[in-house]
Subunit: 167 residues, 2 copies
DNA sequence: TGTATATCGTTATAACGTAACTTTTTTGAT
DNA sequence: ATCAAAAAAGTTACGTTATAACGATATACA
């Protein structure tokens, strides 16, 4: 039976990059904002390359822009406010939100050896830690749910310890 | 009815500090380690003062020890390995684990205005995101579950915006 | 006593993030 | 068109958080 609380995202075919970008532009427009070139560049890289740090994103801007930290952090904050990306607090990296989940809480499973990250969409109505927080009087809730573990893949660097390969 | 997944910790009387310390020493001994003075000092402060950053803890060591960052991070790593403390990833602070929860996952609810932090103990058997991670082949799981929100207390600094007090 | 392990000290620097102020660009009203 | 306001980007400088690498000391116990 399917797990009601956490569903893996993007199980079917990967959505087309251009269509994701145009949906993102629409989301920005609805908020009275625009996806400028740097914003679009960051979002595109996070869509294509998975979790990246602020300085990694910045490094890709050689010549394209001024490439200094405040630019990166402003851009990341902007994309987070729209829900287009999230921060993985446990590794200080950023990751694109599937468009189906821009306004739902998410959970992530992160391999502590290789960084492989699985995205999970949460049903907020069934995520009981939210209820618990509200019962304590908290509002304007925002979730950070990250499970770190070992992914167990054959090519995960950490697995070399387990497969008998020497040195 | 009580929430089965997340239960607030330390609802009853606060345990006695000395008894917590001696239990912590016992936990260290069982692991073949010892609670040295700096370790005990950090743990004690986290027990008494709530979430603190590495450099805040360090600052308290004036003269008592060499007071340099690696000492702090080694000490914090040691206490984390024993389960005596956890890191609040979303605010880069550390917090003491209730002794009842040294080996269970925990969740935290953190006020983004004033830092007030509520500790919640999780039942791992019912924390479905763990199942989801295992189904994906992950093992040696470690949870980071942090809800940030506004605590809504009268004396929370952020509330000044809502109570009509001017500037 | 000697050797292995645990612990701590020290220097230096990497990695992550922000404050504060300036300049440029865009937008929309007149 | 042009001007004022708002949004976005540039720039300098710095603050905060964390780690690498290596050396010194202490402790356990064969």
């Amino acid at each position: 039976m399917p797990d009601p609380l956490f569903a893996p995202t993007e199980n079917a075919a990967e959505p087309d990059l251009e269509s994701q970008l145009s949906q993102a532009r629409a989301i920005a427009r609805k908020a009275g904002k625009t996806l400028t070139p740097v914003r679009e560049y960051f979002y595109k890289r996070l869509l294509c390359e998975g979790p990246l740090g602020a300085y990694e994103l910045l490094a890709g801007l050689d010549g394209v822009a001024s490439a200094k930290p405040p630019t990166a952090y402003r851009t990341l904050e902007f994309l987070q406010e729209l829900g287009l990306i999230r921060k993985l607090q446990s590794v200080s990296k950023y990751i694109a939100t599937p468009l189906s989940a821009v306004s739902s809480p998410m959970a992530f499973v992160v391999c502590r050896q290789c960084g492989l990250t699985e995205k999970l969409e949460c049903d907020p109505a069934q995520t009981s830690v939210f209820d618990r927080a509200r019962k304590s009087g908290f509002d304007q809730l925002d979730a950070t749910i990250e499970i770190s573990g070992r992914c167990g893949r054959d090519d995960c660097p950490g697995d070399r310890l387990r497969t008998g390969r020497s040195t």
